[in-house]
Symmetry: C2
Subunit: 251 residues, 2 copies
DNA sequence: ACAAAAGTGTTATCGCTACACCCATGT
DNA sequence: ACATGGGTGTAGCGATAACACTTTTGT
């Protein structure tokens, strides 16, 4: 038995690797680092956007990247993601989930780092992004004109995007990108941005109102130079009730 | 700069962790192990099944577990999954993909091991499972009567199951669980097992035949004591053609 | 002839698409 | 009055769910 930090690690038999026999000491298996990379989506009202950092340190200094960090030795991976998200947005509660993990041997130029991709949705009106010690700049980028990213972050971002597009159709998560109060046409614009396809105004309204997930809060827009729209909020409790009875969200 | 195997690793500033300042030397970040755990699905003709190993070594010696292994220092994670799958089934080509990663600090009793969950679909008639050095036994288990598994493997299996159920509806992957030649009712039985709901025979036939993805190979069942059914095969090329024209598989 | 599973046809309903139209507000 | 976006109504089409029915083989 060998020491690894404060834990005991079992020895391992010589391994059959690539057809040949290599003796790989067990300690060599415990030399990975694990990171989390968090794709943070926001909605401007017109476009879906993603929060990127400009790297302040090598490698890829000066390049745009998806915010992320190494997981601490005694930190759960979900907690690491929450930490990164919190540090950058100032928010403590947001929708987030894993997208996909990346573990190419040479994906990180200075060590073997396996990264776990996360994606998260935030309400841009509530957050207040601030750069941290390891980031020079923090900026929202429209998804249809992204720069070339550091590492394999273009892939990581693409994986998150794919997840978002699939999930937004089957789970009522789009609301996490909107203010608590929103109009039906704002909601429609959001879906159009995420899915990249137009919706018929009338049909969209009907479909959503028929699902009975929105609460009419009896308020209207102000300071608009046209007929002010009704404001709605998403009714999470109602969604849970309906789901228990077999309802499936679908857009 | 510090050495990590044959690579140079950048130093890291003291970290702000849980509100306190800890000095964490960069080397402590490079003490994770990464593993892959592969949920292998097969179809008996009646039931969806999963291939489990009985652990031959501690920890959890004697308990059933999802097959997996530590990722080698210079091995891509997908390659590691392919290796585990190949060693166990004797197959070199199979459908597989990531499901979800698990990284609770204490998920592995003897070290910090982050695992990447995979799920794969194999044709039971083609493979020939064999136990390896680290497994005493290898056995197919029906999904509706699973034993308690080692580690957090019940969660890993559940995550794979969820993925499979979602994907099987939108991608034509079910064929990977069937022999190359199959009848429509075998296909129907497969979908019923995976999704846990019955399908109407007539409607199922129509839906599938209308999609035009099956090739009638002009053969019939033999040695059945009733009218022999036509055999079909999945037409991958046709699927790709249709997909390019905007077709979306759906069941 | 019968059992058993393969395979076909029909109808009613529901949801969706497409499109036309009306309404309320600020300038 | 008009521009602008908010909001409503409806007809037709297509997919699908439900169910009854016919066909082909082995025994």
């Amino acid at each position: 038995m060998l020491e690894n930090g404060n834990r005991i690690v079992a020895e391992r038999e010589p391994a059959d690797y690539n057809g040949n026999i290599y003796k790989i000491p067990i300690n060599d298996f415990y030399k990975f680092a694990v990171s989390v990379d968090c794709v943070i989506f926001g909605f401007s009202g017109d476009d879906l956007e993603v929060l990127l950092i400009k790297r302040g340190t090598e490698p890829f200094k000066g390049k745009w990247a998806v915010p992320g960090d190494l997981v601490y030795p005694f930190e759960n991976i979900d907690d690491a993601a929450k930490r990164v998200l919190g540090e950058l947005t100032g928010l403590t509660d947001m929708y987030f989930d894993q997208s996909k993990s990346f573990g190419e041997v040479n994906r990180h130029p200075i060590g073997r780092v396996v990264t776990i991709g996360y994606f998260s949705l935030i309400k841009k009106d509530e957050q207040n992004p601030k750069a941290s010690s390891w980031a020079e700049q923090l900026e929202w980028h429209k998804l249809n004109k992204l720069p070339d990213l550091a590492f394999d972050h273009n892939q990581i971002l693409e994986a998150s995007m794919e997840r978002l597009r699939k999930r937004v159709r089957r789970q009522p998560i789009g609301f996490n990108l909107l203010p608590d109060k929103f109009t039906l046409l704002e909601l429609k614009a959001l879906y159009e941005s995420v899915l990249g396809e137009p919706f018929d105004k009338s049909n969209f309204r009907k479909k959503f109102l028929d699902m009975d997930l929105l609460t009419d809060i009896n308020q209207r827009q102000t300071n608009v130079k046209h007929r002010p729209a009704k404001l709605f909020s998403f009714n999470q409790k109602r969604y849970e009730e309906l789901t228990e009875r077999g309802f499936n969200f679908s857009i």
